[in-house]
């Protein structure tokens, strides 16, 4: 009997521990999520501002967490700013999807139970493809900051993108290389099990051929083989490539730069928007990225007043320089506000009504944000049209290349 008591006591203690942890989690999360919102709701109801429930999913844990956190952080800043202004206010809830379609749908359903009215969709492409189907069926208006595959918006009239689609980036990269006359002998290193990389690679090859650029070396890597690039670098070097195009995210790229320097190979490097963030990578020697060209929608060192204020706020609160994911997310929230204000939506409207009012706005309005001015959306495809920025890294900051 004594033993049983002991066991019981242990069990009880364990349950209490769990409870304490759970409570921690709760207060922690509401500190992060709802802080902005509870404040917003108060001022909102006092001033009679309509408050909309804004939801989104993204990887807050796991390998892709850096993107999800950037989007979540920037969305928080945008919501805080908006809730201090007139017009519509937001209550933000952001759920973790671990960059997995299955968990993203679960996260979406949790947001649906919460009563989400408008959405910033999902951060990464495959989860966004899965959640956008749900959003389409439930008529929740969505605009994704960073899910750039074409399938995200295809066939879903109420899903829009703030970022460029992957194929467009490949085409724009080839055009830019030709326009700036960077080189005619190009090598490509890409990640063949990654949607983002494969999508850009495909259209880059097509457009490069059209622009008269010769692709002399075309090599790949995959998850799990992304630490040693000596073979790919040697191949590019042996075939005399003067420019290496890197359609990938910045972690593998940082290793490629270091290993190429060790091999004594110094071509012109050209990246796409996934390269953005390399300068803030922990432990990265920024001199390695000197003279790297990249296409990006956002320049954290831009001198525009809104840009400066956003970067300052972000640094103050989260300690790093915001990347394009953050900027796109910030723009998404503001674009939603602009459309909701213009459409005169109220929170008591049904999701379907809000959705159709928003559709009318998004297909007709012009939006000025951090990631480009005069952005418009194509109603049929949900794609954004704005001018990409070509920058080159000089002395550890971005400088416009043309």
């Amino acid at each position: 009997m004594k033993r049983m008591k002991k066991t019981l006591a242990l069990l009880l203690a364990a349950v209490l521990c769990l409870g304490a942890l759970a409570a921690c989690g709760d207060s922690g999360s509401s500190g992060a999520t709802a802080n902005t919102t509870s404040g917003g709701t108060d001022t909102g109801s006092a001033g009679g501002n309509p408050v909309f429930k804004l939801g989104g999913t993204g990887p807050l844990t796991g390998g892709a967490a850096i993107y999800g956190n950037a989007v979540y952080n920037a969305a928080q800043i945008a919501v805080e700013e908006i809730n201090a202004l007139d017009g519509v206010h937001f209550e933000l809830k952001f759920e973790d999807d671990q960059h997995d379609a299955e968990k993203a749908v679960n996260a979406y359903n949790a947001l649906k139970d919460w009563g989400m009215q408008v959405s910033i969709s999902s951060v990464t492409s495959k989860p966004a493809e899965a959640t956008s189907v749900e959003a389409y069926n439930d008529r929740v208006f969505s605009i994704t900051p960073s899910a750039s595959s074409t399938a995200t918006t295809e066939g879903k009239d109420n899903v829009f993108q703030m970022c460029f689609i992957d194929p467009a980036q490949g085409t724009m990269a080839a055009q830019t290389i030709a326009r700036l006359n960077l080189s005619n002998k190009v090598a490509v290193i890409w990640k063949n099990d990654d949607v983002y990389s494969a999508g850009i690679h495909e259209t880059f090859l097509t457009e490069a051929a059209a622009q008269g650029i010769e692709v002399v070396s075309d090599t790949t890597f995959a998850d799990g083989s992304d630490t040693d690039f000596s073979v790919q670098i040697a191949d590019a070097q042996a075939k005399g490539a003067e420019l290496v195009f890197l359609p990938m995210y910045y972690q593998p790229a940082s290793l490629i730069f270091a290993q190429a320097r060790a091999a004594g190979y110094a071509p012109v490097w050209f990246g796409v928007d996934g390269m953005d963030g390399i300068l803030t990578l922990e432990g990265f020697d920024t001199s390695l990225a000197e003279n790297v060209y990249l296409l990006t929608p956002f320049n954290a060192w831009g001198t525009d007043a809104r840009n400066v204020s956003f970067v300052e706020k972000y640094q103050q609160r989260f300690g790093d320089v915001p990347n394009q994911f953050a900027a796109d997310s910030y723009d998404c929230v503001y674009a939603l506000k602009q459309a909701l204000d213009a459409a005169g939506c109220t929170p008591d409207m049904s999701n379907a009504d809000i959705c159709s009012a928003m559709l009318a706005q998004f297909t007709s309005m012009t939006f000025d944000g951090l990631t480009g001015t005069g952005a418009t959306w194509d109603g049929a495809t949900g794609r954004v049209s704005k001018n990409p920025l070509v920058v080159v890294i000089r002395d550890g900051i971005y400088v416009a290349a043309d």
Partner: protein
């Protein structure tokens, strides 16, 4: 009721398991119609898929006694072939449940074929070696599907590896697009379909285990040399369990994939194999009912913990450890038996 009492112990346990699944299905189905939360409703089909994965792996690990770390590979084969079949038959077969059934059968057949091919070299190995080879197998399957392009047009299927050389005719459709996996899947998987699959798998497993073949398989598990010496064919019976298990995983894969609009090969990686193994170990080796409960509970748990946000995965891990310790401790078992005095007396010695 009197009949139930007179049955032999295994038969009674099996019938109670069937009854549990059917009751759970009826309750959940009624609840789904009457205000169940969307987060739970959205998980019903994937719970069924994971339950089938767990019971099928339990056949390999618990009944056959071989540790397999590549079970998600079979799920992957079933998912990709099953969805391909469903897409190809989109116009030919109008009825969605029928298409789902065909997809699951196709997935099961392909997974069984792959299971057989893998089984030839793999089942010559034992213990740790087998575990490592199945682990490698899972990675091979993942890599193949990450580089496979399958298109369908008026002329039939076009298949290419490494890059898209399918050159489809006008109106053709690229079904499997390498690293992009399969997109734009019509979600035809249903909870009813899933529940039927779970029941079918249970019928197959229980009948296999209680048959002559099943006793041979368990004899191999308990003492291979003794079993061989009385004339039991090692390869035949190992293969029988392994292929059956692979086929069920294939059907589960098809069910799982048809519940989402998109599926990528990276989903079925080592982590998924381990997750399923956790279901099996937690539910108890050879205990099908335990596998069902563990798979369902551990699928729901991370979602139920969403409220606690940042500590969610930590709590999940802590709960796993506690449950593992708890179920293995004789004290807790004794305590549970006291709570359930009805079963206490009849319980066989563990």
């Amino acid at each position: 009721m009197e009949k139930l009492k007179n049955m032999n112990k295994t038969t009674r346990r099996n019938f109670l398991t069937y009854a549990f699944v059917i009751a759970a299905y009826i309750i959940l189905q009624l609840w789904a119609g009457a205000g169940m939360k969307s987060s739970l409703r959205g998980m019903l089909v994937s719970i069924c898929a994971y339950v089938v994965m767990a019971v099928s792996l339990n056949l390999t690990v618990g009944v056959l006694g071989e540790l397999s770390l590549g079970h998600a590979g079979f799920m992957s084969v079933g998912a990709f072939t099953g969805v391909t079949a469903a897409v190809a038959l989109q116009n030919a077969v109008a009825s969605a449940p029928l298409r789902l059934a065909i997809a699951m059968v196709v997935g099961a057949i392909f997974a069984a074929i792959i299971g057989f091919l893998i089984g030839i070299p793999v089942l010559r190995l034992n213990g740790d070696y087998l575990a490592i080879v199945t682990l490698a197998f899972g990675e091979i399957i993942k890599t193949i599907f990450n580089n496979l392009y399958v298109g369908l047009d008026a002329k039939g299927f076009h298949i290419s590896l490494l890059e898209d050389r399918t050159q489809l005719l006008e109106g053709g459709k690229l079904i499997i697009a390498g690293p992009m996996g399969i997109g734009g899947i019509q979600k035809i998987a249903s909870f009813t379909g899933g529940a039927i699959l779970v029941l079918l798998c249970l019928v197959v497993i229980f009948n296999l285990v209680n048959s002559r073949a099943g006793r041979a398989i368990m004899a191999l598990r308990d003492n291979r040399i003794a079993a061989e010496s009385v004339g039991i064919s090692v390869t035949k019976y190992k293969m029988m369990a392994f292929v059956t298990s692979a086929a069920m995983a294939g059907a589960a894969g098809a069910l799982f994939a048809l519940n989402y609009s998109t599926i990528v090969a990276n989903k079925f990686d080592f982590n998924t194999s381990i997750l399923v193994l956790v279901f099996v170990v937690l539910g108890g080796l050879g205990n099908m009912f335990g596998s069902i409960v563990a798979a369902a509970a551990l699928t729901i748990l991370p979602e139920a913990l969403r409220g606690s946000d940042k500590y969610r995965m930590l709590i999940y891990a802590v709960v796993l450890i506690l449950v593992m310790l708890g179920t293995n401790s004789p004290r807790v078992r004794g305590f549970l038996e006291k709570l359930l005095p009805r079963r206490g007396g009849k319980k066989e010695g563990v």
